[in-house]
């Protein structure tokens, strides 16, 4: 029944990216990682900001500290000069050496020089001391070569005359090619008049020490001073290769040297520049910018670790979510896979296949529905198969029956051929003279045998009709006029010597139709036979014409007619009208067969009759009979 080519294809494997589990895993991972990512981002941003703020605060406090240290350091310088001059003998010696140098003994001069040198040695704060007159001539000095030189062009000279104490901010000393800070103090004589200036050149290495002292600073941190003088570094860079006497410009240096105090994240002076977090402050005493910086990379190192941690957490969460998704997807998809497998099996014809999904969710419900559907389908298929087998058996039985009927027809007709025709030869005198009684008796033999033949034909036809096995031999262009001629010649022989006029009214334009010629003839002969049989005298009339799309044939007689109550019996098999029974010789099958044959032609057969006046049979056949399929041409 089902050919192999119609076998349903089994479900193909679905590519991974379309699989349910894949999208579920993706969904889980997305659901887990996205909020985590957002939280991590916010968290890390906050951490970075906090770290930066912390560093800035730290740098600010360092800058504050260093500023104080610088102030203290500068103050120390002044104090140191005070201490020097508090030695009245020393002060007296200075005054004397300025006001009356010739009065001084050599011993006194030596003592003075020795003292000044010892000051320098004992006080690391100063590099050098000089004493110069109000005219700007150096009269004493820790370095003997300085004596006699003029300081009138030095920037501190005028301020030192005007102020008791003066600190000269860093300036570029052309003679030494160095930035130099000078502290001056006026020397008074006993009368309180200024007679000389004591000047100390501050040892900048101390300042350098202050700046390179990195307590509180992280690994990459540094503090340094940049002088307004040419943007030179006042204290050395902690990094190698950055000379003091070179101009440096960064955001912090520029802003600091403009006298501002602030903070920022910017590129420092290094080559290549490093992004740093810095704090800068203007130190007016030094006319320099104090800058504290920490490399940003180091600041962010802490939060980078947090970032890595967060990434790891995200990865772990994603893997967990993926695993969860996989497990969940498997829980969902394995019953679906099982169901698909069962459906495949079922559609391959394994009708016993049932799925064993035990989930209590909707899939379980689906599985149950599938099973009950499978049961229904199996039942239906089994029923259909059984019905088909029954039909096949019935079909076979019909074939056997048909073959039997065909064979019986042949086997009965062959001996009847002999019976009827040998008898007729005798009756007709072909074999010698016969007397009247013999003729009469032998004619009865012929008549009975012919009746038997008709009976056989009718019974065969009827059994075929009842089995639905009657097949029309449909031809195109059946000539009804020719058929009717044949019918009339039969009628004439049936009328014999009876006083009956045979009238015909056959239209000349009668169309050729699609029909079974033999069967139409059979119907017409049957009707005309009845007409002749039941009419003693009068007229038998055949009319044939075209009405609308139909061929219309009527055969009327002036015979005994049929009682109204009997008219419906005419077309019922094995039933005969009272007149028919009286007349005898009929099978009661002729008209039912005729009706069936006309019905098979999609036509109509009916009658009108009045008892005692006659009967008219009507046949109408469609001209265009599309539903009738012609056999071979």
């Amino acid at each position: 029944m089902q050919s192999d080519s119609q076998l349903p294809r089994s479900s193909k494997p679905i590519p991974l990216w379309r699989q349910f589990r894949f999208s579920l895993i993706l969904f889980f991972v997305f659901l887990a990682v996205v909020p985590l990512g957002v939280v991590s981002f916010i968290n890390i941003s906050q951490q970075i900001e906090q770290a930066q703020n912390r560093v800035k605060e730290q740098l600010e406090s360092i800058v504050e500290l260093k500023t104080n240290q610088i102030a203290l350091w500068l103050n120390q310088g002044v104090l140191a000069l005070d201490i020097i001059l508090s030695n009245s003998r020393f002060e007296q010696l200075i005054v004397t050496s300025v006001t009356a140098p010739r009065v001084m003994s050599d011993e006194q001069k030596d003592t003075l020089t020795t003292d000044i040198r010892s000051f320098v040695q004992s006080n690391p704060y100063f590099e050098q001391f000089t004493v110069y007159t109000l005219d700007g001539v150096i009269v004493l000095g820790s370095s003997p070569t300085d004596i006699g030189k003029l300081v009138t062009l030095q920037p501190y000279f005028q301020p030192s005359l005007a102020q008791r104490e003066y600190t000269q901010p860093p300036f570029y000393d052309i003679s030494t090619s160095q930035l130099t800070i000078i502290v001056t103090k006026q020397v008074h004589n006993s009368g309180g008049q200024v007679v000389a200036i004591l000047a100390g050149k501050i040892n900048l290495s101390v300042l350098g020490d202050i700046m390179t002292e990195r307590t509180g600073l992280s690994d990459s941190g540094e503090t340094y001073l940049v002088s307004r003088q040419n943007n030179y570094l006042l204290t050395p860079s902690r990094f190698a290769g950055y000379a003091l006497q070179r101009a440096y410009r960064t955001e912090a240096i520029n802003l600091g040297l403009q006298g501002r105090t602030g903070e920022g994240i910017y590129d420092n002076y290094q080559i290549p520049p490093q992004p740093v977090i810095g704090v800068y402050r203007w130190i007016p005493e030094l006319e320099a910018a104090l800058i504290a910086e920490v490399n940003q990379a180091e600041v962010l190192a802490g939060s980078r670790a947090a970032q890595v941690n967060n990434g790891l957490i995200a990865l772990i969460v994603a893997l967990t979510a993926a695993a969860g998704g996989l497990i969940y997807a498997n829980r969902l998809s394995s019953p679906i896979t099982q169901l698909t497998h069962s459906a495949d099996q079922f559609s391959r014809g394994n009708l016993r296949e049932r799925t064993h999904v035990s989930s209590r969710n909707e899939i379980g419900q689906l599985a149950q529905s599938f099973n009950s559907m499978a049961t229904q389908v199996e039942l239906r298929i089994l029923e259909t198969q059984a019905a088909l087998e029954r039909a096949e058996r019935a079909d076979y039985a019909d074939k056997v029956k048909s073959a039997f009927l065909a064979s019986m027809s042949h086997e009965l007709r062959t001996p009847l051929n002999a019976v009827i025709n040998f008898t007729r030869f005798v009756v007709d005198g072909d074999t010698g003279p016969v007397n009247e009684e013999q003729v009469e008796l032998l004619s009865e033999v012929v008549k009975s045998a012919t009746h038997l033949l008709n009976l056989i034909n009718d019974v065969l036809d009827m059994s075929k009709i009842e089995a639905g096995a009657l097949v029309l031999f449909v031809e195109e262009n059946v000539d009804l006029t020719a058929l009717l001629k044949s019918v009339m010649s039969t009628a004439r022989s049936l009328i014999g010597g009876k006083p009956i006029t045979l009238e015909t009214e056959i239209a000349s334009d009668l169309p050729r139709i699609r029909a079974d010629r033999q069967r139409i003839l059979q119907v017409l002969i049957n009707i005309i036979s009845n007409a002749c049989k039941f009419t003693a005298k009068g007229t038998v009339k055949i009319i044939a014409k075209t009405v609308n799309n139909e061929v219309f044939i009527s055969i009327s007689d002036t015979g005994s007619g049929i009682e109204a109550d009997d008219q419906h019996l005419v077309f019922l098999p094995f039933r005969q009208t009272k007149a028919g029974l009286r007349q005898g010789g009929g099978t009661g099958l002729g008209m039912p067969i005729a009706k069936n044959l006309i019905d098979s032609h999609n036509g109509r057969l009916w009658l009108e009759s009045t008892l005692g006046q006659g009967t008219t049979f009507y046949i109408s056949l469609p001209i265009k009979n599309e539903k009738l399929e012609p056999a071979l041409s």
Partner: protein, 137 residues
Amino acid sequence: MPETSQPVVLYVEDDPQSRRLMSMLLTGRMHLKQVTIFEDSEDFQAKVEKIDPKPDIIFLDIHVNPLNGFEMLQVLRQLDWLKDTPVIALTASVMNEEIHRLRGAGFSGCLSKPLDLSTFPDTFQRIIDGETVWRIV
């Protein structure tokens, strides 16, 4: 009826009663002189090609051995000189299916058994005149 214009008849029939009947009809009643009757299709097969004179009408029984009526028709239809000769089936098998087969196979007509003696001569002449007759009653 002059002998020269009398039709030549060929008949194949294995049933002796049917043969006798046709013989009585054709030679007895219709006074035909040139009637050849083969008792079976083997005989027919052996002699058909040398039939002389040429038949004007051929009657074939259908239920014959070893060749049935259809097969004999095939043999006849292959003979060029007989292609215009009407070949009539004479059969007791008048079930519709059988008649369909006869028409489909190319018989020129059919007469059913039992034969109608009273109409036979007229039918015979009509067939000779080239009419197609399917008389099944």
